[in-house]
Amino acid sequence: MTRKALSGIFSKFKGEEGDLIPILQSVQEKDGYISEDAVEHVARFLKISENQIYGVATFYSQFRFTEPGRNCIKICMGTACHVRGGRSLGVTLEKELGISPGETTEDKRFDLQRVACLGCCALSPVIQINKDIYSRMTVMRLRKILERYE
């Protein structure tokens, strides 16, 4: 992220401790992940150590520290999804893409994450790709859906 973009983010905040998480969320929204570079600059802005920032950022599962793929797949691991076949959906997806949750495919086309619950429980099992939510998922529909994404 450019210095200009970072300053743009910082300008919306007072610089208090409570701003750390929203700032990190804005950084990740722009960059797709939290880079070492970004952490350095946030540390300076908030006047706290990088160590402290990592201490907070690594606690929350939302933040990622490696570059994401072009398309972000979230597979829901909620109870309703689990009970309706979420696990085999996840396993199939991992096999199909050749990666485990938290990783990105070699061609950077997809990255995979497991999410605790997307909140569409009545239509389980559910996966999300970028902003699209797919409900009542079956293993058979997976390939066709993945083809829609570059």
Partner: protein
């Protein structure tokens, strides 16, 4: 305040104008559920068709009205007519409906699910009232009142529907009176703990501080719960107004909404709503002239379940790791930035405007004394009708699961409440009212409102592991009991599910669980063991099966089985084995594989209730593999080509004689396995023929006698002697057998006593008890039936009797069943074939008396109509007679077939054999009775069950007898070894894409003429084709 009332009046005018404008309105559900189901594509389609037709109709995008399983929901309201709701609408159907209803004025009733008018007006013929639908009727939409009716992004809609009237009233009352009202209303925190809301407020209110905070906890982290999300997306102002009320009562100066980042739509709607609030003067300084200042900031969570716990939430807002703190001090005293802070749940806040507007006594009309009001729930999992519901507290669990939710497709097993903090409740608890205290007493908790229904396809051990895994991942790590203890429980559960469970694991889980509960710092650790402890309490047997037997009965824990079909089969038939061999034409080998575990291939291939097919994974693609028909194919092929088995037989013989009482499937199965183990076996049978129910209970047209006889002959060929016309207990006693040097006895006499109807007139000669009737016909006796026969009952015996009666020459056969068609226990294909053969069925009726003529002959039967009443604990509705609603059937013969019972007193003459309350013989898991050397199995110990279960009991008893006689518990049995089929399989190949083969049936005219077999078998070509549909679940890739 005057200004606002003016504003409200203006807005109400606008709202009424919208509703009565003479312009059609289209409501479309676009909350996350609707969008996930495809509502945005539907929206596009609607817009397109309106544009094409230059329609002035307005589209109102609304929130979730409840039945998520019906999404996308599209409603059309024509001027002057009731709004009609259409379900499962896709873009094409939407176009069709809009054309028909909106443009042509003809609502297509077949797609409509309900209407919102009063009574049945014009245009709503045949369409039920939406709120009278079974799913909606028991509900009380208080908090959710606006969801589905207003556009959540229009503050004017909210205001027109009494929005912000609550806070205006609060300003009039003054903050102290507001707190009193909330105390009077008795509302308890809806986040899960159920702490009285007013109490927390009181503590905070009396704190002297310049700054106080009110936080709305919208970090709905329980997997399976989405009620808060739906409320925010459907009616965000209700929550915001609630925040104003709460903040006013406690004297807060700043508000926060802590909301999960995983709810982007809810966040967007909140942001918009807050902006609107500011514009209308409901935020900022001196709100509506009340002197009250308040502002709201949104803080997004970053993916940590523990941040739903209040002190962790506070840490997170402060920019720290979400770790809990010790209490005291409680947040109400020192919370966010050490200032007095109140954290309330979204639903609690959303309820407040209703309490203020309508008063506490209005609110108390809902719910019970200790648990006032209503509660929203997300009813999900295997419920047929899943979605968002709101019911008065005190509603019974069974009302929610069966009346509202429609029950589950497969038999109900349990409902999980309270998320990862809660417990599983089996059918024993279905009568529990949903209240804070009763759920806790039942071993669970209310929690935030997730209700997850599970059925026989859910493994309770795996479910417990799922929850503990979740908590282990979400544990903040601060305190040792949670960080280490929960992780240890996970390690143990993983071991169990992988087949490495050890004796003592259950006790260890209980001990660790209790310690973690008692010593953890916060609610996460204190409740994480609950799902494990409650499943151990209610499903201990399932844990024991995993640990001791290395079995997963639900066929979920993949390390414990190869294929679900084989795992579910009571005798563990190697289904992928013989199916794959059929596919490759290796029929002889297929026959051998089949017969290793079951001598009755042709028999079971015709009459088994095939649990394997209900678990077949091919079901998820199209239909199951026709496993039963394939089994029949190899059984019949073996007979046709006279193929001998090649099954394993022990090279040693054993000296001990074993006597078996009863030559039904259980007795013969036991004989089969004992003979293979080398024992001399004699089977004593009271009837003139061998086979038990297979021979005399099942009619010839379903199971031809010669087919049965050929498979019984296989057992004789192993050296088994069958002595017919010998009743043990009368012609010879068990003591006699023991004196004749039999070293072990297996009693498998079955259940053949007919249950009496207990109505006057039953003693007439033309009343023929069901089992006796079928037995006589099958034994070739001459049986007189009249012209007009009534058969009472809904199981296979009743259906068999009805179809037999027609073949004996009766003109009419009528089945009278006290429940409905859907609840008939008889096999589906039998019922279907009965209809085809012209059998009448009268449902929801039961006989009250049999009318006799002058000579005591049957001339008619008086019946009373029934209605379905309350649910019993198995999820079946109990039939209740409708007083005075009698009718008479003209019949001359009555055949009751309402169930069987066992009476073993004669059998065990002067022997003290333990029996169960219902007369069945008490045995342990292996079939051993309380008398050493005497075993029992089949219907006589399980109760009326199935043939395959009887065969399984026979096999288990044979093993138990062998171990008993050899004095060695470690003997092994080759037919029990499970291995992958040797037939090769290409996992990357696409499955063949044709559906299940339809069975060929004899024509109806041919059927009624006699007892020729109705279902024909498959040809070689079709059998091979069908077998290729198998997905080879037994194939497991070698891991690197």
């Amino acid at each position: 305040m005057n200004n606002f009332e003016k504003k409200r009046k203006a807005v109400q005018k606008k709202w009424n104008a919208l509703k009565n404008s003479g312009v059609p309105l289209i409501y479309l559900g676009t909350a996350s559920c609707g969008i996930a189901a495809g509502a945005m594509d539907v929206l596009e389609s609607i817009r397109k068709i309106l544009k094409e037709n230059r329609s002035k109709a307005k589209i109102i995008r609304v929130g979730c009205i409840g039945p998520c399983y019906l999404e996308p929901l599209m409603d059309i309201e024509m001027p002057g007519q009731p709004r009609i709701s259409y379900a499962n609408v896709d873009p094409k159907l939407a176009g069709k409906i809009v054309k028909a209803h909106l443009l042509k004025g003809k609502p297509p009733g077949q797609h409509a699910v309900g209407h919102f008018g009063e009574g049945n007006g014009k245009g709503t013929e045949g369409i039920p009232r939406f709120f009278d639908l079974p799913m909606l009727k028991p509900q009380a939409r208080v908090v959710l009142r606006n969801c589905g009716f207003i556009d959540p992004e229009e503050i004017d809609h909210y205001i027109a529907n009494d929005g912000y009237a609550g806070i205006m009233k609060a300003f009039e009352m003054g903050s102290e009176a507001v707190l009193a009202e909330v105390r009077e209303a008795g509302i308890r925190g809806r986040g899960g703990a159920g702490f009285p809301t007013y109490k927390k407020w009181e503590i905070c209110r009396i704190q002297k501080a310049k700054e106080k905070y009110l936080i709305c906890n919208a970090d709905e982290g329980d997997p399976g719960a989405f009620m808060n999300r739906s409320l925010i997306e459907g009616d965000p102002h209700a929550v915001l107004e609630g925040m104003l009320i709460a903040a006013y009562a406690i004297g807060a100066t700043q508000g926060y909404i802590y909301i999960r980042a995983e709810y982007p739509l809810a966040i967007a709607r909140l942001k918009k709503a807050i902006t609107q609030m500011q514009k209308y003067g409901f935020l900022g300084k001196n709100i509506q002239g009340s002197g009250f200042d308040f502002d709201i900031k949104i803080k997004e969570g970053a993916g940590a379940f523990v941040c739903g716990e209040e002190t962790a939430l506070i840490s997170s807002i402060e920019g720290k790791r979400g770790m809990s703190r010790a209490r005291p001090p409680f947040p109400a005293v020192a919370g966010l930035y050490s200032k007095p802070t109140i954290i309330n749940n979204v639903e609690t806040l959303g309820t407040l405007p209703n309490i203020l507007r309508n008063g506490a006594s209005w609110y108390k009309r809902f719910g019970t004394k200790g648990s006032c009001g209503t509660k929203t729930f997300s009813l999900v999992g295997k419920a047929k009708r899943s979605g968002l519901i709101e019911v008065p507290l005190g509603t019974k669990l069974k009302t929610i699961i069966f009346d509202i939710g429609g029950g589950s497709l497969k038999p109900f097993k349990a409902v999980q409440t309270g998320g990862p903090s809660g417990g599983c409740l089996s059918e024993k608890f279905l009568n529990t009212p949903v209240e804070y205290e009763s759920l806790a007493a039942a071993g669970s908790i209310m929690g935030s409102g997730g209700l997850i229904v599970v059925d026989e396809d859910t493994c309770m051990v795996d479910l417990a592991r799922y929850f503990i895994n979740f908590c282990a991942e979400e544990s903040c790590g601060k305190c040792t009991p949670c960080r280490v203890g929960v992780n240890q429980m996970l390690i143990i559960l993983n071991r169990i599910c992988e087949g490495n469970g050890m004796q003592g694991d259950i006790e260890l889980l209980e001990r660790i669980g209790k310690t973690v509960k008692a010593t953890s710092l916060c609610g996460l650790g204190q409740t994480a063991p609950n799902p494990v402890l409650s499943t151990i309490r209610q499903f201990r047997k399932e844990y024991e099966m995993h640990i001791r037997d290395k079995r997963c009965p639900a066929s979920v824990c993949q390390d414990l089985f190869l294929s679900p079909c084989q795992n579910t089969c009571p005798v563990g038939m190697d289904v992928p084995g013989y199916v794959s061999l059929i596919a490759t034409g290796q029929f002889e080998e297929a026959i051998r594989v089949g017969r290793e575990t079951n001598p009755f291939l042709s028999v079971c291939g015709r009459i088994c209730d095939h649990p394997c097919m209900s678990k077949c994974r091919r079901n998820e693609l199209d239909d199951p593999v026709a496993i039963r028909s394939l089994k029949r194919f190899i059984g019949d092929y073996a007979r046709e080509k006279n193929i001998s088995s090649g099954i394993w037989v022990s090279p040693e013989t054993q000296p001990e004689k074993v006597a078996i009482i009863g030559s039904g499937p259980s007795g013969l199965s036991c004989a089969y396995f004992l003979a293979r183990l080398g024992y001399p076996v004699t089977v004593y049978e009271r009837l003139p023929v061998a086979g038990g129910m297979l021979a005399v209970g099942i009619p010839e047209y379903r199971l031809p006698k010669d087919i049965l006889e050929s498979e019984i002959q296989l057992i004789r060929d192993l050296g088994v002697k069958i002595q017919t016309r010998t009743t043990v207990g009368r012609d010879i006693t068990i003591r006699d057998l023991l004196a004749q040097d039999y070293k072990a006895i297996y009693a498998a006499v079955g259940m053949y006593g007919d249950r009496a109807l207990r109505v006057p007139g039953e003693e007439a000669n033309q009343v023929l008890q069901g089992v006796d009737f079928l037995t006589d016909v099958n034994l070739g006796k001459k049986v007189q039936v009249g012209q007009n026969v009534a058969i009472i009952g809904g199981g296979n015996t009743a259906v068999d009797a009805a179809r037999t009666v027609l073949r004996l020459g009766a003109k009419k056969a009528t089945i009278v069943y006290r429940r409905t068609r859907e609840e008939m226990p008889a096999f589906e294909d039998e019922i279907q074939e009965s209809y085809e053969e012209g059998i009448d069925m009268v449902f929801l009726a039961a006989p009250t008396r049999i009318i006799l003529g002058e000579e005591g002959q049957v001339t008619g039967m008086e019946c009373i109509r029934m209605r379905l009443g309350d649910y019993d604990n198995q999820g079946r509705r109990m039939p209740v007679p409708i007083e005075g609603d009698l009718f008479t059937l003209d019949v001359d013969t009555v055949i009751p077939a309402i169930g069987e019972f066992a009476d073993v007193r004669d059998l065990f003459i002067d022997m003290d054999v333990a029996t169960n309350k219902n007369g069945t013989i008490a045995v342990d898991d292996e079939g051993q009775t309380n008398i050493p050397g005497i075993f029992a199995g089949g219907d006589v110990s399980i109760g009326a069950a199935t043939v395959i279960k009887a065969i399984s009991a026979g096999e288990r008893a044979a093993v138990a007898i062998d171990r008993y006689l050899r004095g060695d518990l470690n003997r092994h049995y080759p037919w029990r070894v499970r291995s992958r089929s040797p037939v090769s399989f290409d996992p990357s190949a696409e499955p063949v894409d044709y559906p299940i083969v339809s069975p060929k049936l004899l024509s109806v005219t041919k059927r009624r003429k006699g007892f020729v077999e109705v279902q024909t078998g498959m040809s070689v070509r079709i059998a091979k084709k069908e077998a290729e549909r198998c997905l080879r679940c037994d194939y497991q890739e070698e891991s690197e």
